[in-house]
């Protein structure tokens, strides 16, 4: 009997853990579909009377109620900045990761260490000097300014992951390709790249999420609808006199949904990447 009891305890504990992990997010998502007065109601309304997309319509300025916050602009900025910085970071990271995976060269460990150390600089600590430099060269409050910063932010981890994925591919495959008549360039694109593709895709998703979620730098390097991103925009709500909880929750949903969807896609690769990158060194 104690064995059965053991299993029951395990299940109950696991259920509790999953509730703690899952419930806060679900509550925010649920609230995004509820009207503000229901959220503010005292005593609390536990079972929603009506779920609607009104909050989403409102923050995008589509509904009857107007919200002063230009979420549509923020959304567009977030998308442009995250996608562009991801594409550039992956291109640079692929080239760098390949160099680490396939070549022996002088200062290899030093360069690797330097790149990784650049990632340890706290966002807020980096934001001060970048703010000073960017304001001198006119990159403050521009999409390009933020893209550049996010590329730099994503390069180290992208290189780490992609290095690991290329390392898993035996170098004999590229050599076989070269003996079979490929140039090194052809061998890369026809043999190594297709094999690393899913790994590179997950590195890309990871980079996208880093850019999509970033706050410390964005909040200090952006000012207006020209470049403000969703996480920065979220703070606009709190600055108002009364907090529009429903609007904030709706906006949170917009930030969460891509993160959840993409996480689901990459989870397997990401775990593999983190593990071998760390253990095999």
């Amino acid at each position: 009997m104690p064995k059965r009891l053991n299993a029951v305890v395990s299940w109950v504990l696991t259920f509790l853990v999953m509730v703690i992990i899952g419930l806060p997010g679900l509550w925010v998502i649920l609230s995004g579909f509820r009207p503000n007065r229901e959220i503010l109601a005292k005593p609390a309304v536990w079972v929603p009377e009506r779920l609607s997309l009104d909050n989403f319509a409102a923050i995008f300025g589509l509904g009857d109620t107007q919200v002063a916050i230009p979420v549509a602009n923020y959304f567009a900025n977030s998308l442009v900045i995250a996608v562009t910085s991801t594409v550039i970071a992956i291109a640079i990271g692929m080239s760098g990761g390949y160099a680490f995976a396939r070549f022996r060269f002088r200062f290899k460990n030093g360069v690797f260490l330097g790149l990784m150390l650049s990632r340890t600089v706290p966002g807020i600590a980096l934001s001060l000097p970048v703010f000073m430099v960017w304001s001198r060269i006119g990159l403050i409050d521009t999409q390009f300014g933020l893209i550049l910063v996010y590329v730099a932010l994503n390069i180290p981890f992208t290189i780490w992951l992609i290095d690991g994925f290329f390392r898993q591919i035996p170098k004999e495959l590229s050599e076989a390709g070269q003996v079979d008549g490929c140039t090194r360039w052809q061998a890369f694109w026809r043999i190594e790249f297709p094999l690393a593709r899913s790994g590179i895709a997950s590195a890309a998703i990871f980079a996208f999420l880093t850019s999509w979620n970033e706050y410390a730098l964005a909040s200090n390097l952006t000012r207006s609808t020209d470049s403000k991103t969703l996480p920065v925009g979220l703070m606009d709500f709190t600055a108002q006199f009364t907090i529009d909880w429903a609007g904030m929750c709706a906006m949170a949903v917009i930030i969460i949904v891509p993160a959840l969807a993409l996480t689901f896609l990459v989870q397997k690769h990401l775990i593999a990447g983190l593990t071998f990158g760390g253990v095999k060194g």
């Binding site: 035996p170 004999e172 495959l173 050599e175 076989a176 070269q178 003996v179 079979d180 490929c182 052809q186």
Partner: protein
């Protein structure tokens, strides 16, 4: 007509030289095997021929071209790798046809040549499978198919059988030999397994520490090893090697434990009084009386005590020792041997090899 010629070929990583100015001529259609312990430079040499390693010094000719600065794809060679290096994202058919596709051969030609190669290797029914779905032996065949389909000037094999289990290895060995008969190309084959080298090669090149120790046909390197290293590396079980001192007056070489053997006739003129030598005795040439291969030849008798015997059926290996050095003998038509039994061994004296103690060179071989 494709000879391969290595002249003064040198490879260094930084200050570490791993292949030291080797010279080697490989004839058209020859099956040449590079053999040696790991780290002897054999794979590096092969990879330099393939163009996968940069050449530090010297030249490589393939046919009448110097290929030093040519990329692998420009050398018209093909290579079978130790781990096969099949492209995991392509079917067997695509793997076989990849080289031709890169070379922009017409679609139908690729089809016929791939089918032909598949027929030769008996993999026709595997064509639509992915490499992950193949057994070790099948992967091996596909790798060879990929090599022959391009009809290259030179085949390069880098330890192609070392990942197979023992039984399959013997089988594939025979197939490689048959394949060579059939396609008649120049082959350079690298292995660390001397049995593989002996069975496959037209000529064997024995390498150690980046130097060539000896080049010759399998029987030459077995019967006339150039030095103690080749002597011990070629042949199984390995050659026994014992220190000895030449005593011309007595006409013998004294070993440890008060034992001695007569000086082999053919070496007499090349030895001097008091010279320190290494006596090389193959287990085949040391057998209890009445149980040997070479009983009838000039012989000497040694009485030794057998510590361990290993019956193998047709023969039994006998372990004994001289001066604390383990010595193996071989007994044909075996009988039971008691532990620590003292037996009279017959030594085929004319088959004994005498090496110089300093440097290990066979005294029969001139510089």
């Amino acid at each position: 007509m494709t000879e391969v010629r290595l002249a003064n070929l040198t490879k260094a990583y930084g200050n570490m030289e791993v292949v030291h100015a080797i010279d080697l001529d490989i004839a058209d259609n020859e099956f040449l095997v590079l053999v040696g312990p790991s780290g002897c430079g054999k794979s590096t040499t092969l990879r330099m021929i393939a163009g996968l390693e940069e050449i530090t010094g010297g030249t490589i000719h393939i046919g009448d071209r110097v290929v030093n600065d040519l990329a692998p794809r420009e050398r018209n060679v093909s290579m079978v790798f130790q781990n096969y290096a099949l492209y995991p994202h392509m079917t067997v058919r695509e793997n076989l046809g990849f080289g031709l596709k890169i070379a922009k051969v017409a679609e139908q030609d690729i089809g016929t040549r791939v089918t032909q190669a598949a027929d030769i290797l008996g993999i026709a029914e595997l064509m639509e499978r992915m490499p992950a779905e193949l057994s070790g032996g099948q992967r091996q065949r596909v790798a060879m198919g990929r090599a022959i389909v391009r009809n290259p000037d030179v085949f390069l094999f880098d330890e192609p059988l070392s990942n197979l289990d023992a039984k399959l290895r013997v089988q594939m060995r025979t197939e490689i030999k048959k394949l060579h008969r059939r396609v008649e190309n120049t082959v350079v084959y690298v292995t660390h397994d001397q049995v593989e080298a002996m069975t496959l090669a037209d000529r064997i090149v024995i390498m150690r520490d980046g130097y060539i120790e000896q080049v010759g046909t399998p029987l030459e390197v077995f019967n006339e090893p150039a030095n103690t290293f080749v002597g011990s590396f070629i042949g199984s079980p390995p050659m026994n090697q014992l220190d000895g001192i030449v005593r011309l007056a007595d006409g013998d070489i004294s070993l440890a434990d008060g034992l001695s053997i007569p000086i082999p006739q053919r070496t007499r003129a090349r030895l001097s009084e008091g010279q320190k030598v290494v006596v090389g005795i193959r287990p085949d040439d040391l057998a209890p009386r009445g149980h040997g291969i070479h009983d009838s030849e000039a012989s000497a008798e040694l009485e030794l005590s057998v510590s361990i015997s290993e019956p193998l059926g047709t023969e039994t290996l006998l372990f004994t020792s001289i001066g604390g050095v383990e010595v193996q003998g071989k007994m044909l038509n075996p009988r039971m041997v008691a532990p620590d039994e003292r037996m009279k061994f017959v030594l085929a004296v004319d088959r004994v090899h005498i090496f110089e103690a300093a440097g290990g060179r066979n005294v029969m071989i001139d510089n």
